[in-house]
């Protein structure tokens, strides 16, 4: 497959999953509200699922934010620098972001192992806790990939 096509497929898959998580969050929580007020029937056990989707959507959404270069940052000083300075700053912020999400992935895997070993289950649905936690390292790795991809592309324009 040509690289452009792979890229488009990746972007599209990321978008679809993100929207799916958001739709899931909304549909489950809204069903919950309806059930509670109109059917007098509490679906409170769904809350932990919605919150897990919220965590996943935040991390996956961060990958999209990184791809668009839309993270909140104070770039006032850096933008006034020369090209080499800007390149240095680019790699510095990319390294910092990789360290943070790399650490999140590493400790996320450890957390998953711990939860599996001790057999933690969720409060309401009694599902294995690590099913929810596993999203943290998985999406953190994806963010790391997006950071490197974005840095690589921006670096090319700064070198040129």
């Amino acid at each position: 497959m040509p690289p452009g096509l792979i890229r488009r497929l990746m972007d599209r898959a990321e978008e679809l999953l993100l929207v799916a998580l958001f739709v899931l969050m909304f549909v489950i929580s809204f069903a919950n509200v309806v059930a509670r007020y109109f059917l007098r029937f509490a679906l409170a056990f769904t809350e932990e699922m919605v919150l897990a989707a919220f965590v996943w959507a935040t991390l996956l959404g961060t990958a999209t934010v990184v791809r668009r270069g839309a993270q909140l940052a104070f770039t006032f000083l850096v933008d006034r620098g020369s090209r080499p300075t800007r390149r240095l700053a680019l790699w510095l912020s990319s390294t910092a972001t990789v360290v943070v999400f790399g650490a999140l992935a590493y400790y996320g895997v450890q957390q998953v192992e711990l939860e599996r070993r001790l057999g933690f289950t969720t409060e309401a649905l009694a599902l294995p806790q690590w099913w929810y936690t596993a999203g943290v390292p998985a999406f953190a790795v994806w963010v790391v990939f997006r950071v490197l991809q974005a840095a690589w592309e921006l670096d090319r324009t700064l070198r040129a």
Binding site: M25, V50, F54, L72, F74, L77
Partner: protein, 426 residues
């Protein structure tokens, strides 16, 4: 010493352009790795910082605002205001301010309000001969009221950090938000009169009634969202979901003006906007937890209390500090960094946390107009195609008026607390 290093590490990373969430994360990790604080819980900590039911109001309020904007609610509100305000000097600017205040009762963040009203009013003002920088500045400044006018994402975050009632914070934001809107009318009117910028024409009774009928869905939205909260029927999070459902119902059933493709885009953009906020929440929470475990937040709090015994002086200094912080940081990270330090200070001086939250929110909403980090200006600059610097200069008279409102609210807590007490929200 540790305290200086802890805050200094974040500040240095921030100043060299590291994204705020990553700067908070690296500064936390530097101390988690060098001190026996329990770094292995990092992932669990980040997870639990996000997975809080009250915070779920954030994506849903963002989504509700996006959906309602997409179904054309903002345009109908603006059309109605335009017929009412008519050709007075600065007419379109006054409509833009009113539109931002009204849409503020639907949307939860300033940048979303800037985008919703700005995409309609900024081009309209430019066509009418207004200076583009001024047109952008009016909308960006008026959108600051959205931070105060419920629903408000900032108050959700403050409520979670301080364990304060979000409905009470929402109620406390009403009067300050309206005061800010009123304060902006004067410079908009005076500057436009001097430059000869006008408005549209007055509508006749029939036209106004028709516009009112067209705007009914938009005018009803705050009733649905806020009415649900204040009748005690819904929590803010549930009210946000109801707001989304209301918007979807309008777009798919009543007005039938959105396609599934539109909805896909709306959900995607809301998810991305939510991630921008929530990634900061995730790592600001980690930073705040690290600071608390290290004990540096207590040290900082003691330093602040020892600094002066005068509440009047301290409030003035804090306002200056927040205004400066608002230039380089977003509101969410300022809440997470400063509020845990200030909680003991509030207790010492007997400050009402609801009032203090409102003062901080006004202050931080002004921060969305003060570059370099000025979210409302970014959005307005994108719409008006004018540089952020030019808009920032055009926004100065508005910033001055907002600072005046800030000082009134700082030294007159009764003005803030009057409304929540009158409606009896706790």
């Amino acid at each position: 010493m540790t305290a200086v290093a802890f805050f200094g590490a974040f500040l240095v990373l921030l100043l060299v352009g590291v994204p705020i969430a990553a700067a908070l994360g690296v500064a936390s990790l530097a101390f988690l790795w060098t001190h026996p604080l329990g770094v292995q819980v990092m992932a669990a900590n980040v997870y639990s910082n996000i997975a809080k039911f009250p915070l779920l109001a954030i994506p849903f309020f963002i989504l509700a605002g996006y959906v309602l904007d997409r179904v054309g609610v903002s345009r109908r509100l603006v059309d109605l205001l335009s017929l009412l305000v008519g050709p007075v000097p600065g007419g379109l600017a006054l409509v833009a301010i009113g539109g931002c205040v009204l849409f503020g009762a639907i949307s939860g963040t300033g940048p979303a309000d800037t985008a919703a009203i700005g995409t309609i009013m900024i081009p309209a003002m430019i066509r009418r001969g207004y200076d583009p920088a001024f047109a952008a500045a009016v909308v960006a400044a008026a959108a600051t009221t959205d931070v105060l006018i419920p629903p408000s994402v900032a108050f959700v975050v403050y409520g979670v950090i301080t364990d304060t009632s979000v409905p009470r914070l929402f109620a406390a934001g009403v009067v300050p938000g309206l005061l800010m809107g009123l304060a902006l009318l004067a410079p908009a009117y005076l500057i436009s009169r001097q430059k000869g910028w006008g408005g549209a024409r007055w509508g006749n009774v029939q036209e106004i009634l028709r516009a009112l009928w067209d705007a009914k869905w938009g005018l009803l939205a705050p009733v649905v969202i806020l009415g649900g909260i204040y009748s005690g029927m819904f929590t803010p999070t549930e009210a946000a979901m109801v707001g989304v459902a209301y918007g979807l119902f309008l777009g798919l059933v009543v007005l039938r003006n959105v396609t599934l493709h539109d909805l896909f885009e709306t959900f995607r953009e809301a998810a991305v906007a939510s991630a921008v906020v929530m990634s900061v929440v995730a790592f600001a929470g980690l930073y705040s937890w690290t600071g608390a475990t290290l004990g540096v937040l207590d040290q900082a709090a003691r330093a602040v209390t020892r600094f002066t015994d005068s509440a009047v002086v301290l409030l003035l200094l804090l306002n200056v500090l927040f205004l400066l912080a608002g230039m380089v940081l977003d509101a969410i990270s300022i809440f997470y960094v400063f509020v845990p330090i200030l909680l003991p200070v509030m207790a010492k001086f007997g400050w009402d946390p609801v009032w203090f939250g409102v003062v901080m929110a006004v202050n931080l909403s002004i921060g969305t107009l003060t570059p370099p980090v000025a979210l409302n200006l970014y959005v307005a600059s994108h719409i008006a195609r004018v540089s952020v610097g030019r808009i920032a200069r055009a926004a100065l008279p508005f910033v001055a008026c907002l600072v005046a409102v800030l000082l009134v609210l700082t030294y007159w807590p009764g003005l803030v607390l009057w409304f929540p007490n009158a409606v009896g929200v706790r």
